[in-house]
């Protein structure tokens, strides 16, 4: 799915590859290497960031960056303990995705240009993250 050259460049940051379906490739990266991996994609103009998905896996959170190019989807998956870096300086329109991730999952996004709320009402409690599994509404 990726050219050999691109895959080799990403290889430095990726700990595990998986092909869950046709046209899909999942790459597991450490949160600390996330920005470097996205920079590789950005430098060769590979696809666009279609969405950022947060997942609550019980004992930890996982953040998925879905990059789409034509029919292909490359997903960078990172476990987060203390947050992820902002990618807005590379992908300016990621701001809305990051704000949603922060308020819904309580994932810290370092250096995001606008950390304010996106969807939740102004008087929503500070420490309540509705898309976490332990949040009951």
């Amino acid at each position: 799915m990726l050219t050999a050259e691109l895959r080799e460049q990403l290889e430095h940051f990726v700990t595990d590859w998986e092909t869950p379906e046709d046209n899909r490739l999942d790459a597991r990266v450490e949160a600390i290497n996330l920005l470097a991996a996205i920079k590789v994609l950005h430098d060769v103009n590979w696809g666009y960031l279609a969405a950022i998905t947060g997942l609550d896996l019980g004992d930890h959170l996982e953040v998925l960056y879905h990059f789409c190019r034509a029919e292909k989807t490359l997903t960078l998956r990172a476990h987060t303990a203390d947050g992820v870096p902002s990618v807005c300086h590379l992908v300016p329109y990621a701001s809305v995705f990051e704000r949603e991730l922060m308020e819904m999952f309580g994932v810290e996004v370092y250096g995001t240009p606008d950390p304010s709320r996106l969807f939740l009402p102004d008087d929503w409690p500070e420490d309540s993250y509705p898309l976490r599994k332990d949040a009951t509404l």
């Binding site: 969405a51 034509a70 300016p92 701001s95 304010s116 969807f119 102004d122 008087d123 509404l137």
Partner: protein, 393 residues
């Protein structure tokens, strides 16, 4: 958003405003007539659907997700069905796949005609608005005859569709398409040649190919800037695999091009529906579907009337999903407004906004760029209202 220049005036619009069809808040900083800065804040129609799906079963969620949007409801249900069927390894009968796509294309017609009317209205061309909405009724009647509903048709079930296209209905659809084709050719002529109208669209809100890719726009908005991205072509699903559809691409990148792309798409869609009606496969409408779905993850990308609709679905072996993530096309397109509004006349901003065919409920997520101005919380606003009307409690 504040400004130190005394010549600059900040105009707040919305969230409740007579000129807005859906709730959104816009702030425009103007110098005379010219927009210097723009910001938008949405979220007023956020309903927490992504959380709600986690406590409902796979069948209930079909109905919930279809209600994300009142215009492109079927495409949400289709995206969801395609994903869940992939996770469950269920093959949908060919006739059902074709009917699904057929309804999706009928939906595209009524969505684009609705948009044409709203856009014409914003341009002050209410005659075109009235005519295009009158014509749209042709499709609404077909959808009602087919499914019993004008919107939220609930045509999909997991593993197939509920409704069959009978020969009499096929004949009604054909007649409707013949009528609409004549009308649409006329509209194409109007939006490209009517002097007054063209003055409102040509050369306004120009987005280059480079900007379109950098801002991440999608759907007709992207295709009007020469960015040939149509998921029905690059990642065909259902009957798009059997019968190819031709994407409409324009290169001018202005509002006029966005009109031309959508109106030409209507013509392509009429032809495509005729092809489907002529080649409707025989067979069942549904197949058996399990109640529980084995653990897995899938991604679905489909072409909604407004652009790419993205679904991420994760199952955990139970009868309820673990997580469903929805990314709607308006989110991708909204960011372009803030960039393109700068330098425009204030009067052109509604046209620019309507040019992306925004769907607020569908999306409800966007950007707030505010400065040091105090923001009012809901409780503070309530308090103010009670005091103002002398009912403080």
């Amino acid at each position: 958003m504040s400004t130190n220049n005394p010549e600059h005036l900040t105009i707040p619009i919305g969230p409740q405003h007579p000129a807005l069809k859906e709730p959104g808040h816009f702030e425009l900083v103007v110098d005379g007539e010219i927009v210097q800065r723009a910001s938008v804040r949405l979220g007023y129609a956020h309903r927490g659907i992504e959380k709600a799906v986690e406590s409902r079963n796979w069948v209930q969620n079909l109905y919930l997700l279809e209600r994300i949007c009142g215009i492109c409801s079927h495409i949400h249900a289709t995206a969801y069905c395609l994903g869940v069927e992939k996770l469950a390894d269920v093959e949908v009968p060919p006739r059902a796949q074709t009917i699904r796509v057929l309804i999706a294309e009928l939906e595209r017609i009524h969505s684009h005609l609705l948009w044409l009317g709203v856009a014409a209205h914003e341009a002050g061309f209410d005659t075109l608005f009235m005519y295009s909405w009158r014509d749209r009724e042709t499709i609404m009647d077909v959808l009602e005859q087919l499914t019993g509903n004008r919107v939220n048709y609930s045509a999909n079930v997991l593993g197939g569709v509920k409704f069959d296209i009978e020969p009499e209905l096929a004949e009604t659809i054909q007649q409707g398409l013949d009528f609409l084709e004549k009308r649409t050719r006329h509209y194409l002529n109007v939006v490209t040649t009517d002097n007054l109208f063209v003055q409102r669209t040509r050369g306004i809100g120009v987005m280059s190919f480079e900007q379109a890719t950098a801002l991440g726009v999608t759907g007709p908005t992207a295709r009007a800037s020469g960015f040939e991205q149509d998921l029905r072509v690059i990642l065909p699903y259902g009957s798009y695999r059997d019968f190819a559809i031709t994407p409409v691409v324009e290169t001018a990148g202005d509002l006029a091009a966005r009109f031309v792309v959508r109106v030409k798409e209507l013509l392509i869609t009429y032809d495509y529906i005729r092809t489907l009606l002529d080649n409707l496969p025989d067979g069942d409408l549904t197949t058996r579907f399990p109640r529980r779905i084995k653990p897995g993850e899938t991604i679905v990308r489909v072409e909604a009337p407004r652009g790419e609709l993205f679904y991420f679905i994760k199952s955990n072996g139970t009868d309820q999903p673990e997580r469903i993530k929805v990314r709607t096309p308006t989110l991708c397109n909204m960011a372009s407004i803030i960039h393109l509004a700068i330098g425009l006349h204030l009067a052109d901003v509604p046209m620019l906004l309507i040019g992306i065919d925004p769907c607020f409920s569908c999306n409800d997520r966007a950007i707030s760029i505010r400065g040091d101005q105090e923001e009012w919380s809901w409780s503070k606003l309530r308090q103010f209202a009670f005091e103002h009307y002398g009912q403080a409690r």
